[in-house]
């Protein structure tokens, strides 16, 4: 064990981040679509602001189409899934062919959705494949350190999105616990003071916007 290159360990970490970004985004996308259809057509604007992505969209329909499928849009789910796939493709021997195949299936699904203008419908299938992907990682990645690397990426991304999208501090606390275990397991160096501050925020559950800003900054600079 321990025979993993620096580049491949980066690939593992970023595979975890991008796969989680796609998964978490799809999870909240359905609810966002409902709001845009029924309540506020402009609801995508605060969503973009929360995720700190440029609002380049003409209207809600343009947002749904471009944010989901446009390869030219660097923030689209298509682009993020492509990055997950690109990182996964060079890891076949580490994550296994079956795990990689779920990324391929998710990618195929996204391609098909793009061709058929399936709008948000395709998200469900992509989510299923990503869940299967994570199950497959547990099943096939024998090395604990490698599993911890990919999951450290996963939970760091989850944490970032949870804070940005205003999820409860309780659920953020759960993610922090998971992240800490994975950081230690992967032997990733991180700033323990910043991590302790994040734990404090989770315990205090103070929903001040400034607290979330500080928390985000701590996450951004957590890894040494």
């Amino acid at each position: 064990m321990g025979f993993i290159s620096i580049e491949q360990s980066d690939n593992l970490f970023w595979l975890g981040r991008y796969a989680e970004r796609v998964y978490r985004t799809i999870r909240c996308f359905e609810a966002l679509c409902d709001v845009m259809l029924d309540i506020d057509e402009q609801a995508y604007k605060p969503f973009c602001a929360a995720l700190n992505i440029p609002d380049i969209y003409k209207d809600s329909l343009d947002f749904i189409d471009s944010y989901l499928y446009k390869p030219q849009n660097p923030d689209s789910l298509y682009s993020n899934l492509s990055r997950a796939y690109d990182n996964g493709l060079v890891l076949r021997n580490t994550i296994s062919s079956p795990s990689l195949s779920y990324l391929q299936l998710a990618m195929n699904c996204m391609e098909e959705g793009r061709r058929n203008r399936a709008n948000a419908l395709v998200g469900r299938q992509v989510m299923d494949y990503l869940l299967a992907f994570w199950g497959s990682i547990d099943e096939y990645v024998a090395s604990g350190q490698e599993r911890c690397l990919i999951k450290a990426g996963r939970y760091l991304e989850r944490l970032d999105m949870q804070i940005r999208l205003g999820e409860s501090w309780e659920s953020i606390g759960v993610t922090l616990d998971k992240l800490e275990r994975r950081l230690i397991g992967a032997k990733l160096l991180y700033d323990t003071n910043k991590f302790r501050l994040l734990l404090n925020f989770a315990q205090l559950a103070d929903d001040d916007e400034e607290v979330r800003e500080i928390a985000l900054e701590n996450i951004r600079t957590l890894l040494l």
Partner: protein, 437 residues
């Protein structure tokens, strides 16, 4: 068999799911393509394969003997069996490899021998590929899926298992490893055979590495990993000799490992396949392989070459110029189905131009008789069509001897009457069943 055939589309879907692709560059752009699989296999009887196997082992042993000789005493040239023009002017002969014999005396650990079968059932060798031949992964993964698609087909037919390719590769690497880890080195995901690299890493259990994961210190090769540094003893590389080491070969190579040739020449690492093999699989040298077999092994060649003429020799040139319209012209510097011209397709004016060229560039081209090789039945939707097909057999040489993988890559043309079967030119592939009884 019906269950297997009716699942062809499902198997192809799974191959797509598993990312079974190859890459090609068109107009400077990288494209990944699926490799269409036809589940109707090529079947080779046990008796027929036993003969092929003997011939393949004999051929590869002779080629390894030639490489040992040419990079040491060069006796075959001194004895006049092969003219020196065909050895030392070959781009495949690397002075940097001269006077060094790799571990266990093996240069070609993995040899891909391309064969065709004529209508009278005679097998002919068309090409020897001793520089990183690829293609084994395709029948390997297709077989796994075919077995799942139709277990009864494999229960009712005595098909030799092909699942041992990873073990054969491991044996070849471990047996020449002077000490350290074994790794599979790839130029990266935009290499045409990246799927194969990554899949072989998976089936052997060896790490897939790139040039920047490796470094040389004190003539030893090391892998720098996330959790420390480890010595590397054997590298299965998928990178051309030219780009292997910028300190020895092309200085502008960004995908090589500086100093790896020093580590190799110091005997601290085995490179699989060895650098310098290009001198033995040059299309010009191919002509001499039967002579090599007699020279080194003192045996009669079991497998035949396609009848070949070298414009270099006056008698061959005369015949070639008189019969060009019925011959194939091959550029010795090309591969992958490129640089192949059929005389019958040339106009009278083009034929005249070629006659001049063959006289002025006599070392660059070879001429071959067209072998009317057999058509194999190929599924096209619900119909069965006859298409030309070849076979790439994989021969693995370790310190324990030379073995033939009981399978192979059967490639077929998807165009009626076309002799070009290469995947890069739109061909498909079949599994190759070697019957065990």
């Amino acid at each position: 068999m019906d269950a297997l055939l009716s699942n062809t589309a499902a198997i192809n879907q799974l191959l797509a799911r598993y990312g079974v692709k190859f890459g090609i560059y068109k107009d400077g752009q990288f494209h990944e393509q699926l490799f269409p699989f036809d589940s109707l296999p090529r079947v080779i009887s046990a008796e027929e394969f036993a003969e092929l196997e003997k011939g393949l082992i004999q051929r590869v042993d002779a080629l390894n003997a030639f490489l040992r000789d040419i990079y040491s005493k060069k006796q075959i040239v001194a004895d006049g069996v092969i003219p020196e023009d065909f050895v030392f002017s070959s781009g495949g002969f690397l002075p940097a490899c001269d006077q060094f014999i790799p571990p266990a005396g093996i240069f070609s650990h993995i040899s891909g021998i391309d064969l065709v079968q004529a209508k009278d059932k005679t097998w002919y060798v068309l090409e020897d590929n001793l520089r990183i031949p690829s293609g084994a992964s395709y029948p390997l993964i297709a077989r796994r899926l075919s077995r799942m698609a139709s277990p009864e087909t494999f229960k009712n037919n005595a098909v030799s298992s092909n699942s041992n390719y990873g073990l054969l590769l491991r044996e070849a690497m471990e047996s020449v490893n002077p000490g350290g880890k074994c790794v599979i080195m790839t130029p990266g995901r935009y290499n045409a055979a990246f799927f194969e690299h990554s899949y072989l890493a998976e089936v052997t259990g060896y790490p897939l590495v790139m040039h920047n994961d490796l470094f040389v210190q004190d003539n030893k090769l090391y892998f720098k990993g996330r959790y420390g540094v480890q010595q590397v003893g054997a590298v299965y590389r998928r990178i051309s000799d030219d780009f292997l080491d910028p300190l020895t070969f092309r200085a502008d190579s960004l995908i090589g490992v500086p100093g790896i040739m020093n580590a190799y020449r110091a005997g601290n690492v085995a490179i699989i396949n060895a650098p310098g093999n290009g001198v033995a699989d040059d299309k010009g040298i191919y002509y001499f392989v039967p002579k090599m077999i007699e020279y080194y092994l003192h045996e009669k060649p079991i497998l035949k070459n396609a009848p070949t003429y070298l414009p270099f020799y006056e008698e061959d040139r005369k015949y070639g110029l008189e019969n060009l319209e019925k011959l194939v012209i091959k550029d010795v510097a090309e591969a992958g189905g490129y640089g192949v011209l059929f005389g019958k397709d040339l106009s009278a004016e083009e034929l005249e131009d070629w006659k001049v060229r063959l006289q002025t560039e006599s070392r660059r081209f070879i001429l071959q008789e067209v072998i009317d090789f057999i058509d194999l039945p190929v599924l096209e939707g619900a119909e069965v069509k006859d298409r030309k097909a070849d076979l790439r057999a994989f021969v693995i040489t370790s310190a324990n001897g030379t073995k033939v993988w009981h399978s192979g890559l059967t490639r077929f043309s998807r165009v009626a009457d076309s002799f070009v079967v290469n995947s890069s030119q739109g061909g498909g592939f079949k599994d190759t069943w070697v019957l065990s009884r």
